[in-house]
């Protein structure tokens, strides 16, 4: 979730009121932000809504707070002045980065705080909402350095050079991707293309190479800049226009004048932006009180929606709601009802205790696992919990067996945790191996899950509850572990047999399959010294592993 820093002084100016420290929680909550900390004049806050890029800056937060405290009502209105600014889009960009949304903002006083907020907003929007510039990359330019019309075209890397930001010499497009830090960071977004997107003006001055870097010529904004050109590139119009509208609304809130730009994709394919036409949605009035639990009159509903910076009117039993063009998160009437609740203030809500008479209960498998854990504690054994993630070396090689099929992770954070275990014994061996300095005898057990591949299952695997009980000490042996097994299974009123088995983890002739009602439910044996050695164990280990999921079916 985006974390945003705002200046308190700036906020007070934008909201139009002094802000007390004690009010911050409630005020920020109108913008779905959570107060984190104050550092001098800087307020740090976390924006909760990852689908509301309009709220990730001081202006957007202030806009929402003004609604919450009654300083402003309804959908904010932004006047777009018509103009002749034109951006021509090269059809060759179709498969590279086809769409662009633009605006011109004039007569804005650029202070350090404005620059800080613009940069922060650009970072947050392109990072979270724009999926790290893939879906939306924002460029901000000094309007007065641009000669119109502007062309958004596809250029071969070696045929064009410009001085990128933070450099003092010309680089061709390939060099930008190789040499500029931003080039290296975002080169993957242009991978596989023979031509790269370029914004270039009528004087053949490059504005930028989206989504990578601006040019030094016009792509630099300073305190001397008075007029701005802003563009957002990407693939999906809804995404880029939402991002553009969020940015320009903020600049308009600071007094900038918005001017339209015509984006020409083809002969008859024009888009004029920014477009602040409100979205519309209908809400059944009855559903507002029903879902919120509030008891509001129609008038109160309308008032609260206006506080939420929405417009609303009533037609019969339906609310006609309009929402601002910088929002794309409204899909359903529930979205409007949440807006109403946020504007009403979560801090003003009284909770209500529902009266639902139902009976609780645990899963049978959990009951069985718990009963077994309690039973085994009676033998003086220590319960343990180990991780279900492990690696193939531990599951197979260290257990002296051939690799088996198991669930493998494509993006592990470490090879140590790269597969899900398909049996529990290796985890217990690892535990014993980690505790050779602890006093012996050691007696431990775990009832935990493993994941066994199964091509017939919906998820190609079964989650299976296993139990391992292990003894490690100077004379640990088959007999004593079988005594525990017998006591446990007899305690569950089950008769069992142990059949001979070949298994390389165990000493030959001292390992068996555990069967209940002719079903295989586990394995029991003395670990082979070659396995012990691989876990750096110097004491004998005897253990059994039982399938509790299977056992549960037999217990009933």
């Amino acid at each position: 979730m985006p974390k945003v820093e705002v200046s308190k002084k700036d906020m007070e100016k934008l909201v139009g009121k002094k802000i007390k420290q004690s009010e911050l929680d409630d005020l920020l909550s109108y913008a779905k932000c959570e107060y984190e900390s104050t550092d001098g004049d800087i307020i740090k806050t976390e924006c909760k809504d990852t689908n509301r890029p309009d709220l990730w800056c001081a202006e957007g937060i202030a806009r929402q707070i003004r609604g919450g405290i009654g300083k402003a009502k309804g959908v904010p209105e932004y006047k777009i002045r018509s103009s002749n600014f034109l951006v021509r889009v090269d059809p060759n960009l179709k498969k590279i980065r086809p769409r662009i949304a633009c605006a011109v903002v004039k007569n804005i006083k650029i202070t350090d705080e404005v620059i800080k907020q613009v940069i922060q907003m650009q970072e947050k929007i392109t990072g979270t909402f724009g999926r790290n510039r893939k879906e939306a990359a924002i460029g901000v330019y000094d309007f007065d350095k641009i000669k119109w019309p502007v062309r958004y075209g596809a250029y071969a890397p070696s045929k064009l050079s410009f001085i990128p930001l933070e450099m003092d010499r010309e680089l061709n497009l390939l060099q930008v991707l190789q040499k500029h830090p931003k080039g290296r960071e975002f080169a993957h977004l242009l991978e596989g293309h023979k031509k790269y997107p370029i914004l270039i003006d009528a004087d053949k001055n490059v504005l930028s190479m989206p989504p990578v870097i601006n040019s030094n010529h016009s792509g630099k904004v300073t305190a001397d800049t008075k007029n701005l050109f802003i563009e957002v590139t990407g693939f999906d119009d809804q995404t880029i226009h939402t991002a553009l509208n969020a940015v320009v609304a903020s600049l308009a809130d600071r007094g900038g004048n918005l001017h339209a730009v015509k984006v020409k994709y083809g002969l008859r394919d024009n888009v004029v932006c920014p477009n602040f036409k409100s979205g519309k949605i209908k809400v059944a009035i009855a559903n507002v009180n029903q879902l919120s639990g509030l008891n509001l009159t129609r008038q109160q509903i309308l008032e609260n929606l206006k506080k939420a910076r929405l417009n609303a009117s009533i037609s019969g039993n339906t609310l006609l709601v309009e929402y601002p063009a910088y929002r794309q998160d409204i899909l359903h009437e529930v979205d409007i009802i949440e807006d109403l609740l946020v504007a009403y203030g979560y801090h003003n809500l009284e909770s209500e205790d529902p009266e639902i008479a139902v009976i609780g209960g645990e899963l049978e498998l959990e009951v069985l696992s718990r009963r077994i854990r309690e039973f085994l504690v009676g033998f003086g054994a220590q319960g343990v919990i180990t991780y279900t993630l492990t690696n193939k070396d531990k599951l197979f090689n260290r257990m002296n067996i051939k690799n088996q099929k198991c669930i493998e992770i494509a993006n592990p954070v470490s090879q140590n945790w790269s597969v899900l275990r398909n049996w529990l014994t290796p985890s217990i061996m690892e535990f014993l191996g980690n505790n050779t300095n602890s006093e012996y005898p050691q007696m431990i057990f775990e009832a935990g899950d493993v994941v066994v591949p199964n091509s017939k299952a919906e998820t190609m695997s079964d989650t299976v509850r296993k139990l391992v009980f292990a003894k490690a000490h100077q004379r640990a042996n088959f007999t004593e572990i079988k005594q525990i097994l017998k006591t446990l299974l007899n305690g569950l009123e089950l008769e069992f047999e142990v059949d001979e088995l070949d298994h390389d983890s165990f000493i030959p002739g001292r390992v068996g399959l555990i069967k209940v009602s002719n079903k295989i439910v586990g394995i029991i044996g003395e670990l082979h010294p070659s396995v012990l050695k691989r876990w750096r164990l110097e004491n004998p280990v005897a253990l059994f592993e039982l399938n509790l999921t299977e056992l549960l079916k037999l217990v009933v």
Partner: protein
Amino acid sequence: MKDIIKLADSLQDNEIKVLRAFKPKVDHLADLKGLPKNEFLRAGMWLDNKGLIKTHKTKTRWIQLDMLGERYVKGKLPELALLALLKKKPLPLDTLRKHFPQDELRFAMGYLKQKGYVEYRHGTLAITDTGLKVRVTLEFKFLLKLAKLKEIGVGTLLPEDQYAYQNLKKRKQLVREVERTSIHFTITDIGKKVLQNLSDEKRIGMITSSIIKSGSWEKAKFRRYDVSAPVPKVYPGKKQPYNQYLDDVRAKLVRLGYKEMTGPLVETEFWHFDAMFQPQNHPARTWTDTYSLKSPKYGKLPSKKLVSTVKVAHETGGKTGSIGWNYNWSEKVASQLLPRGHGTGMSARKISEKPAVPCKYFGLGRSYRPDMPDASHLIEFNQVDVFVIDKNANFKQLLGILKQFAKELAGATEVKFVPDYYPFTEPSVQISAKHPVLGWMELAGAGIFRPEFTQSLGIKEPVMAFAFGVDRLAMYKLGINDIRYLFSQDLDWLRKEKIVK
């Protein structure tokens, strides 16, 4: 006096033996006949602890045979061997060289010449008259004595031994000195009083079944134990503390009327994301980091009918009253497998089974996230997912449910609600609770499941839901500040861990 008798009655057999060895004339004891040295010392230590005797430690030095010394006592010292050889006839140096190593020969010749036992002339060594009378030297005598006694105290040497020892000390590896601490005890005044009060009665130490059966205890006294004495450690069998805590959580949820649900650890994206109306290829999908699988990569989708309802909800909203996410929904993406990153897929599965309304469910289980483990992160964590379906469910009731949970499961007395965002709930809320030490703590994320989610799975009524990570609650409850201890791989720590309150 009572204390003296109590003391006397608490003595063990060996302690009594040692104490009784102090007689009017014996006030100093370094060993005791009939008692092995280690038992003697141990009994002495116990008596000292009780203040009956006093331990004195003195350092003494002892002479022992060294490596070469050991060898020579089996034969002769080189000087004596040379003398014996010359007794037969004078011998030239060249011949002698064949009999002795060079060092030994040089030393032995020097030694014998200095004593006047031999003469060296024209390359030949001959014995003198004095030499003929010599049988043994003082040095060799001393070595033999050492061999017999094993060691001799430095302070107890006779004058001739002193002379021999000084000479031998100059030679390499014949003798060595070791330092040893010797212990002796003297009796204290209390000791003397206890000694006077020792009765001759037989005292029972450890009570055994034969003592009980024979009735011998009827005439005997029981030795008193020092009940305040420390004892060796034993370790009980115990449940893993975190498991114990999870059992408590489960029990509380059941008491609050929740039924338990479950789901697989490896899940399809369908149940993990799509069924919950989280759009594919959209930031909302990655609100939390997840793993993906190398193999197997794809799972199977549920019934065609369910899949197509979910598809329509994503694309156009379908009959759910929504406009949908407006994109082409892909079955392939939905069938991708992943180790679950949250447990809400359990809720989706349960809701799709259309449970009878009203109902309350919880699922408690492991989830995975790609974090390097450290004091506050684990690669595997436990999450509890809860939902409640009721035809009258609303947001204020959700807050009521959350308050109850905070009070019952986290012991919170003060809570606050702030707006929150999840792609699958609307309205959404986060509950925080005030912890007396840590301040405000986020407890759970909650909301009412989006209708696109629940209606597509066949439930018309509103579904109130919340999820919380139990790990942090458990850390607080177990009093640990490193989250890795929840899955502690340290047996000593587990053995010592307190009973979960």
